[in-house]
C-alpha cells in the first residue's frame, strides 16, 4: 500500500472502489461518501439520514477548502501535489469526524458530527480516507435548507455493484513535513486552553471586519461579549499569526451558535500579560446544535506545525515505555480517552500517561478534541511508524550522539554539555524546564519552537548516562 522512500516523503496511493457522489432523485438527495477499503474490503461505516443537510454539506465543503488551501507556499514545495490529499474520516459509536490538513501545513480542520446530526445505523468503527471530488462538491453546494439527504459512508458507497471492478487509484507523494504536521497538531491542541467564547453573531461581525491581509501578529480578545482585533497585547488576548486565514470560515460562520477560541495554555484567561514570544497556535471552534467545526492555525502563516518541535522532548523520553504499551492496548475507538482513568486503573504516573498520549498522537493513533480537552482514538491510514523517528532535529541529535559529539559535565550545576557540530562547539545548559544553547536556532527562538538538536542530544546523552549508572 505505501512505502517510505529514502527522501522521507511517503508515496501513498489513495484507493477507492468508486467516486463519492450526490444523487438527486425526486427531491431526495443521496450522498455517498466512498472511503478507502483500508479497514476491511467491505467496510461500511454508516447508513442513514443527515438531519441538517445544507449545514452539514457546507461544513464538509469547508473541510475540503482548508485541505486545498495554500496560505503560504514554502520554497521547494510543490503545492500542486498536496492538493491531491484527501480528508480523513473517523466513525465511532456516536461521532463521525472528518479531518483535513492544509497543503501549507499550517491549518488543521475537523468537523465533528455529533449524535444528533445523523440518524441511522452506525455499522463499524474505524478511520480511513474519504473521497470528496470536485463534482460532488459542486453538487453539495447546490443543496438547500429544508431538503432531505440520505448518507452512506463506506468503501462501497451507495452502490454495491462495484464488486469485481478495479479500484480507482490515485498516487500521491505526501511530504514528511505534511505528515508530521498533521500528527503534531494533535499535541499542539493538548497544550491549548479555552481563552474565551463569543456568540455566533459577534463572530460573524468580527469575520466581516477582518482585513484581507494583516502582516504580523494580531491580538484577539473579548470584552463583554465583543471580539476585538488589536495590534497590541492585552490581558487574556490570544495572538493570532496570519489572521486572514480565518476568512476560510466565512461560508460556515452563518451556522455558528457560538464560537470558542483556544490559545496556548499559559495564556488562558487567568494568566498575566501575554507577549508575542509566548504566542502559539490558536484553535477556533464553531458550534452548531449538532456539530462542531474546528480550525487550528499555526503561530504564523509561514510556520507549519511540523517545524514547531512541540513533541521532540516527549519523543526522547524513555521512562514512559510501559505507559505507552498500556495506553496503546487500551485504545478501543473511544470518543474521549480519560487519562486520569488510565492512571488510576493501571497505576501509572500521570506524566508518563500524558507523554504516552502525546507519543501516540505523533504516531497518528489518536486525535485531540479541544472541546472535551481530551484525546480520542482514531488511526490515520498512513504508515507513520517511521515518520515520527525521522524528525529532522531528533535525527540530527541521534547523529551527534553516534558521532560521540556530546561531552557532558555532570559536576556542573545545572548540568552542562559541550556539543561539537561542524567546526564549532555549542554550550548546552540543561537548566530544568528551560535548557539553553549557544546555537543559532536557540538564539532565534529561545525554545518557543522546541529544543534544538544540541539540547536534544545533550538530553539523550544525560538519559543514557543515567541509565548506565543505574
Amino acid at each position: 500500500m505505501s512505502n517510505l522512500n529514502t527522501a522521507v516523503d511517503l508515496d501513498y496511493t489513495y484507493r477507492y472502489s468508486g467516486l463519492s457522489s450526490l444523487l438527486r432523485d425526486n427531491n431526495r438527495n443521496q450522498l455517498s461518501l466512498v472511503t478507502s477499503p483500508e479497514c476491511g474490503s467491505s467496510a461500511q461505516f454508516f447508513r442513514g439520514r443527515v438531519n441538517q443537510p445544507k449545514r452539514t454539506a457546507d461544513l464538509l465543503i469547508t473541510i475540503v477548502s482548508v485541505v486545498q488551501s495554500r496560505f503560504h507556499v514554502p520554497a521547494a514545495m510543490l503545492g500542486r501535489i498536496l492538493l491531491l490529499a484527501d480528508p480523513v474520516i473517523t466513525c465511532s459509536e456516536s461521532f463521525v469526524r472528518f479531518e483535513g490538513f492544509s497543503s501549507c501545513c499550517g491549518a488543521y480542520a475537523r468537523l465533528d458530527l455529533l449524535p444528533d446530526a445523523l440518524e441511522g445505523d452506525r455499522l463499524t468503527s474505524g478511520t480511513t480516507n474519504v473521497d470528496i471530488n470536485a463534482p460532488m462538491r459542486s453538487a453539495l453546494s447546490k443543496l438547500r435548507d429544508g431538503e432531505t439527504m440520505d448518507l452512506a459512508v463506506g468503501a462501497e458507497g451507495l452502490a454495491i455493484k462495484h464488486d469485481g471492478q478495479e479500484l480507482i487509484e490515485r498516487q500521491v507523494t505526501l511530504p514528511s513535513r505534511w505528515l508530521r504536521g498533521f500528527v503534531e497538531v494533535q499535541s499542539f491542541q493538548s497544550n491549548m486552553a479555552l481563552s474565551f467564547e463569543a456568540s455566533g453573531a459577534e463572530f460573524r461581525r468580527f469575520l466581516n471586519a477582518l482585513p484581507k491581509s494583516f502582516k504580523g501578529a494580531a491580538w484577539v480578545s473579548l470584552a463583554n461579549g465583543s471580539i476585538r482585533l488589536s495590534s497590541i497585547a492585552s490581558k487574556g488576548a490570544v495572538c493570532v499569526g496570519g489572521i486572514a486565514r480565518l476568512r476560510v470560515l466565512q461560508p460556515v460562520a452563518r451556522y455558528a451558535d457560538k464560537v470558542r477560541i483556544y490559545g496556548p495554555r499559559e495564556i488562558g484567561p487567568d494568566a498575566g500579560m501575554p507577549t508575542a514570544s509566548n504566542a502559539g497556535a490558536t484553535g477556533w471552534e464553531i458550534s452548531t446544535s449538532d456539530s462542531r467545526f474546528y480550525l487550528v492555525l499555526s503561530p504564523d502563516v509561514w510556520r507549519g506545525f511540523s517545524g514547531e518541535g512541540q513533541v521532540l522532548e516527549t519523543l526522547t523520553r524513555k521512562s514512559m515505555e510501559k505507559a505507552l504499551a498500556v495506553v496503546r492496548a487500551s485504545l478501543r475507538w473511544q470518543e474521549v480517552i480519560d487519562a486520569s482513568d488510565v492512571v488510576s486503573r493501571y497505576g501509572l504516573k500521570a506524566d508518563d500517561v500524558e507523554g504516552a498520549l502525546a507519543q501516540l498522537a505523533v504516531s497518528g493513533l489518536i486525535g485531540y478534541d479541544l472541546s472535551e480537552q481530551a484525546y480520542f482514538h482514531r488511526e490515520l491510514p498512513f504508515d507513520l511508524s517511521l515518520v515520527s523517528k525521522l524528525q529532522p532535529r531528533l535525527k540530527g541529535a541521534n547523529r551527534l550522539l553516534d558521532d560521540a559529539a556530546v561531552l557532558l559535565d555532570r559536576t556542573a550545576n545545572p548540568v552542562t554539555a559541550w556539543v561539537k557540530s561542524g567546526d564549532v562547539e555549542y554550550r548546552v545548559v540543561l537548566d530544568g524546564d528551560s535548557p539553553r544553547c549557544t546555537c543559532v536556532w536557540f538564539a532565534k527562538h529561545k525554545g518557543s519552537r522546541g529544543p534544538c538538536k544540541h539540547i536534544l542530544a545533550a538530553q539523550l546523552a544525560l538519559q543514557e548516562n543515567k541509565d548506565a549508572s543505574d
Partner: protein, 902 residues
Amino acid sequence: MPQTELEEAMTHGQSEKCVEILANWTEAERRRSAPSAIAVYRRMYRSWISDIRSGEFSVSRPHVEAAQLAILGVATVSEMKEINVRAWNELTYDVLRDRRPSWISDWADWALTNNYVKWDIVRKLIITGVSPRLSCDSYLLRMAHRACHHHIKYPMTVKDFFLTNSDLLENEVWELLGIEGNKEISLTSLDKYSRNAVAHAFLELTNEGYLPRSRMLDVTLTALLADYPQYRAGWFSRFHDLLGPTMEERAERIDTYLALLSSRIPPTVSFALDAAMTIDRAGLLDPVDGVAAIRPVFYSRDKGAHKLALKLVSSWVDTVEKGGVKFRDVLSPAEFIDTALDAVVPALEHESRDTREAAQKFIRKYRAIPDEPDESIIQPLSLLAAIQPPTEIVAKVPISPVESVEELVEVLSAVLENEGPVAEIERALDGLSRLCAERPDNFVRLTGPLLKRAKTHLGDLWEYCFFGSTVRLVIAGLVRAWLEAELPPAPSKPWRGDMKILGPERFIGARVKELASRAAGRGACPLLSAPTHYGGWIDPSVLVDRLLAHPKSARFDTIQAILRLSVREREEALRKASELKGEVGAAVRFALGGENGASGTDLALWIAASRARDPYSDDPVGAKVCGASGATCDSLGPDTFNAGEIELSWISSQNTVEGQTYRFSNPKLTVNPPLPETIRVDLPTVLMYEGIKGPGRWWQPVSHANMVRWTSEIWPANRQSWFAIGCAAIGDNLNWNEARWGDIAYLEPLVESTTVLGSTGLTLLALGLCAKDPGEGTLAMDILVNGISDGRLDISMLSKLLSTVFSWPDIKMPRMTKRLEQASGVSSRHANSIRDATISALEACPPEATTNLGVVLELLNEVLIITASSLPDGPLSKRLSNLKGSSRAAAMAKRLLSRSRA
C-alpha cells in the same frame, strides 16, 4: 574532456549529430552513458552561466541546446529534474520519438510547468502517438497561453488556433474551462493582457456551433460553484454574461444560480442575484425556491448585494400578500412570509447602518411592529459592549544588566539573529562594555559559534559594518572586533554604489564603533549610555554615579547618555553632579538644569546638554558656545541650541494616461532652522532630519525597521523629528503603493502613555488612521484608544487631529471614520470624546469635498446614537441646515437635524 562520441557532439554544439548518435541506442546503452554525459552537461552549463555573467560567451546557446538534447536522450526524468534540464531545441521531438520513454507524461507535465519546453513540441508528441493525451493543468494552461501568443511565427488568432487544432475542441477546451489556473497563467490573466482574446474566440466558436452552447453555459456556472479566488472566478461570470443566456436557458439553470447565492466570492453573488432577478421578472422563479436560497446573501459584507436581495424578497412578499403566488404544498403564505423575514434577519448584523435600517424597516413592515425608533435593534453588536482598552505591552521596569560572559554570549547571539528588541541590544552593548576584558575558562570554545555567526552575517561587508545600515551588521562588526581584537579597515570603495545611509543610523554606527574600538583593546568600563529603564531612559542619578566612577568617558557614549536623561528626579542627580569635573561634568550639570550656564568648546556635547535640558525650547545661552566655536546657532540646523519647527504640507500632482487622470499627493516636510549642507555625525538631533534634505522625493529606503526602532531611543524626550520622518514615510505610501512593512515602526512608540504626542506625533497618528495598510491602521486605532484612555488625546487634541485630516487633499476619509467608529465602541468616554471632537472639528474646518463631508456626518450620526445624544444647537447645526441637494452629506445633515428636533 569528452570521452565518447556523444560528449564530443555535446561540447561542439552539434545538435543534429546528438540526435543521430542517440537514434539507435538501446535503453541500456543510454543509461550507461548517462553519468558521464550529465557530468559534461553540468560543466558546460556552469561555464555558460558564468560566461553570461562575465559578458563573454565561450560556451554559446547552441552548445547548451545540444547538451540538453543529449541529456534528454540518456537521463531519467528524476535526473533531469535534479539538474533542471530544459528542452529548448526543436529536435527535442526527434530525441523523444526515438527513445519513447515510459515517463514522457511525467516529463511533459514537469517541463511545461516550468516552461522548459514549447507547448508545440509536446503537442506534436501527442499527435504522433509518442505521448498519451495529456490533461494536466500545465498542458492545458500552456495551450491557452500558446493560443494567445501572437508571434511572427504564429500569426493566427485564438479562434484560428483552435480551428486549426480542432481536435482540441473535443476535450482540452472543456478541461481548460474546468481548472482554476495559477498565478502565472489563468483565463483572467490571459484575457487581461490580450484584450479578451480568449473570451471572444470562445464566444465566436460557440456562436458558430463549434462548441455546444448549452455545455458552455453549464461549464461556466460549474466553475463558479468551485469558488475560485475572486480574480480568477471573474472570467467565468463575465464570459457567462457574454454568452447572453436567453430567458429559457436561464430558467433551466435556476438551481445553479440560486446555489451561487451562497458563494463566498462577492461578485459571484452579485452575478447570481442579477440572474435571479432577471428570471424573477419573467415570472419564472418560484419564490419558495428563492426564499430558501437567499438567506446567505444577507450574511455577506457587500452592501449592494444586500440591497438587491432585499428588493427581491420584498417583491416576493408583496406578491404573496396580494395572493399572486400559487403555492405548492410545502409552505402556506403565512409560513412563506415568516421564512422570508427570517432570511433577512442576518442583515441586522451588518456593519452598515443603512443596511441594518433597511432590514429593520422591512421586518417591521411585515411583522406589524409600530414604526418607532428602536435603535437598540440596529446597533452594531460591537457597540453594545463596553470594551476595556488594551493595556500597555511594556511594563515600566528597570533593565537588568548582563552579569556574566556566558549570559553576554547568549544575549549577543539573540540580538544578532533577532535584531531587537532595543532594550536587549542596549543590554548587549552594556554587557560587552563591562565584560570585554574577561576571559573565563573555555572562552574561545564558548564564543566560537557567536564569532562564526557574526562572520557569516558580515560576509564581505566587514569594512562597512559601522555605517549603520542594519542592526545585524553593526552588532556583527562589534562581535568580531571584540573576539578578534581588530577593527575594520577603511572602505576601499563607496557603500553600494550611489546609495547613502542618511539619518541617525550614522550616529549609532559611530557610537558602536567607538565601543568596538575599546572592546578590541579589552578596555572594560561601564557604558554611560546604557538605558536603565525601558524606552531608552537613563535615571539621572545613575548617570552621575557612572561618571563619578569612570570620569574618562567616550565622546559618542557621553552624547548619547545625556540625550537619554530622564526628565524626572533631576534635582538629586544635580546635587551629586557638583562633584563631576571638566567640561563633561559642566555639560551634565547644565543638562540637569544647573544654572552654571553653557560654556566650553565641545559643540556636540553642549548641544546634547541643551536638548536634554529643555527639549522643546530654544536655548538662549547656546549662542555663547556657538560663538566660541565660530558658528551661529541657526547655521547648525534644527534641534541644536534652537528647537526645530516642522511643517508638513502636500505636493499635489496629476498624471494622465489613456484619457484617465490620476491625482497624487505626496507629503513634504519643511524644517526651521534649515538643515546645513553637511551634518556632523556627532549631532544626532540634527541627523534625525537628514532624510528630508531637498525637495521632491526625499525618501531613502535604506533604513531597516529594526534600525528605525533603535533610532527612536536616541532622544526619547523629544521624538518630534523622528515622528516627522515617520509622517513622510507613511504619508508617502498612504495607499500602499509599495509594500513598506517597516514603516509601522514609526507608530509603535505612540502606544506608550509616556510618549509625548506633540504636533508631529498627532499628525503621524492622523496619517496612520488614514493608511490603507490594515497593520498601520489597526495600530493607529489602538493608539487612539490608548490616547483617550490615558488622557493624552483630550477633545481639543482630537479635534485638532480631525481638522488636520479634513484639510488634507486626496484622503480616503472612510478609512479614518471607520476606525474612529470602532474606537468609539470601546467605552462611553471614547464615544463622547469622538463625538465632541467631531462636532468641534466640523465647526472649525469641515472637509471641502461633499463626499468626505457625508462620510464624516455618517460617523457623527453613529456616535450620536451610541451616546444617546443629539446634535447641539450651534454653528454646526446652522451650517448643516444650509446644506441642500440630494448628496449623501445633505441626506445625513437632514437626518441629524431631524434627530436633533425629535
